[in-house]
Amino acid sequence: MTTTPAAPERESDDYLPAAVKETRADRIVLICNYTALGLFSLAVLYPLVYVLSAAFSEPRNVQSGEVWLWPVGLSLESFRSIFDYDGIVRGFGNSVVYAIGGALLATALTLLAAYPLSRRDLPGKGLILGLFLFTMMFNGGLIPNYLVVDRTGLLDTRWAMILPTAMAVWNVIITRTYFQTTIPEELAESARVDGCSDIGFFWRVVLPLSKPIIAVNLLFYAVAQWNSWFNALIYLTSEHLFPLQLVLRQILVQSNVDPSQVRDVAELLRMKELQEQLKFSLIVIATIPPLLVYPFVQKHFVKGAMVGSLQG
């Protein structure tokens, strides 16, 4: 963190005073930079480490404030108690289904929408894009959406988590830009000369060239699904369909009650214990899947998002 490459050696050479002066200034800037960045990364890292340590500590020690960096009284108790709540285990499974299913469907839709829009020869392109953009700015709101989901018979089914708002216009725009910048029109022309149909071109040429943007889309959609709870709250009424985030939220809100309203102190105590036990281990469990997926997608991710964002 504190190594300042090359700069010190040049300073010791001491045959270009002006340059030395500059490097000293450079060094100060560099040190400031590293200090600031170090502090930032500490600020980001500390909560992560704390949550991990708290999850692996005796709940009592977390409560009394003894855990501040490393686990105190190593214990897997809180992880074990997760499995006493079948809602959590089932919620985890549901979230996996929603994340994978949602990501696949949404990515497919995004590619299918973005590719035609990237072609210059699509008639009415501006209008279609305008309509897409309109829905990005304005939407019907909660109750019209609820009506649509209700009347289409999706209410309280898994589809309610995946179908409504499956495709994000934002992703369509990024993907379209990616196509525009990486797939030249000439490629399409030469393919057509060789007798390739539009669909064939999309399938055999465009898709193989678009792995980075596909990875980006999959990751964006999967993480969004994984973190979402509001649609589940509004559209689902059967506990066995609830995603993990909703269960997690339930645990947090239910133990956070106005104490003067609780007529049964034993009940309050029970919720308090539950929350203490589960809070941190649940956060760890809920964070693991995105963390696991991220490294595999990351190399595409940076590339894809960068390229897509080059031109508007």
Partner: protein, 585 residues
Amino acid sequence: MQPAVRTGRIRRRTFVAGAAGLTAATTSGLLSGCGPDEAVGASPESLAAPPATPGPKLGGIPYPDGYVGPVARKLGPIVTEPTKFVVVVPQDLTVGDWAKNKFTKWLEQRTGITIEFRQIAGADEDVTIKVNAMIAAGDIPDAFMGVNFSKSQLYLYGAQNLFVDQTPYTDKYAPNLQQMFRDYPLAKKLATSPDGNVYVYPSFNDCYHCRAGKSRTWINTRWLKQVGLAMPKTTDEFREVLRAFKKADPAGRGRTLPFVGYKEDGTNQVTVDKFVMNAFLYNPTSPWLVVDGGKVNAAYSQDGWREGLKYLRTLYAEGLLNRDAFSMTAEQLQRAGNNKDGPLLGVFQGNYWGSAMDVDVEDPTARWHDYEALPPLEGPDGFRVANWDHYTGFDPRLVITRKCRRPDLLVRWADFQLDLEVMMAAYAGPGSWSFAKRGDKAISGKQALFGISGTWAPDKTKDTWAQRNPNYRSGDFRLSERVDPTKPTFEKPLYEQTRDRYFPYRVPIEQQFPPVALEGDQAALDASLSLDLSGEVVQTMARFVTGKGDPADDGQWNDYLGRLDKIGLRPYLDIQQAAYESFQG
């Protein structure tokens, strides 16, 4: 109401109504979105059956002398042919999946009524959003159970004919509820909307210790002995005790917190004023409304409030009140309360010990045993009152909608649950409780009526309804729970200390502002004014107490009163006055 077509194309009108409902869930246009093609309202056969007569009381049950409360009777099924209702319930971790819950099956077997549960997850606000969406979209169940509708909401939806007036059904088919209303006339009054209708099958929980819970305060008696002082009786003695705590510094290294203020979880209210103010004037805590000879007033604009602020300011100036009294979180308080190498807390406000520390009922030397309830203090003018909630206990439980064809059956289903045995099965889980034996001692010190296996209801077996259903927990019932002499819970000391230290000083019921129902537009105005006013009150309290302002300065005090007026204290009080008068009838 315009009946919309449920299937097929959605009408524009429905959309518009829905959108209106989103922005203002309290507008009356909201219902035009509902009205499915099924027939609406109760069928004529709902009132055809003869009135229900209560079954004979079961014998051999050790009711304490003079017992008032739910009793066990011989029960038969409510229906003979399969009957099903759709009921919306909040999700509850203790209940688990309502459809698979053990008591759900138990009750279904005994009543013959099947419930299709729709479960809503999340906090109360989330449930409200979802319920509003359902209502606006016309996706209406037969009933809502355990959804916390406010009195204003009940009145609003009732007046819109969405919720059913249950009076004709409960009069005829709910003998247990009638009994409860006779035992607790207040329960009936609280269940009745300003139009005289009862849109809810209520639950009543006569929780004795809850009545003092909003201001109950705890003092470290071990420290009290250590500094050789008696339990303080006046504000001056209280200050002496705090000074002694600070001087003796039992926690060491100046870590002693003689009197600690913090922000409550859930409500986010500050706690500094809750106890001490009652030595200067009656402080009912937020929203600080009091009734003074039939006139509704706000405690925070009174002279007594000003005197209280001056007193608190001196405590803060001497370092007897913690520096972060207005920003400390409940979690930080727990940390201080549970501090490993000895207690840090002298005096803290909290519903019970668990507000500040772990409550270990099995360890007789656990720290919470050192803390005892601090009786209300006498102020310099001889004023002393205990903030006592006379109206606690009422909960809206079962709300039947006009979608329901047979409200009579749902009312009988609810009334079934007020039977002592059914109630216990719902509360503790079928088979997890038993009647007490003759000679068993209860919380009240008298003969016990029932006992729960284990310290309290089991939590991981998913066999209770966690009191989300109709209940009749009378005072006698609650206090007749058996106390296991080998494993005493905190219920008994909590009851006794409340009875001995707060009840004698309780504020008269005439001075307490009751829970009232407001009409639609007034409810919205009330909500916004109440929020702004309480923001101003807390901010000014913090400034005055921490010495950034001085309540003794006439200019500053008048500025504060001026700001309250500007926010709209007068119209706010007018709304409350009208609602109060309508409540009193």
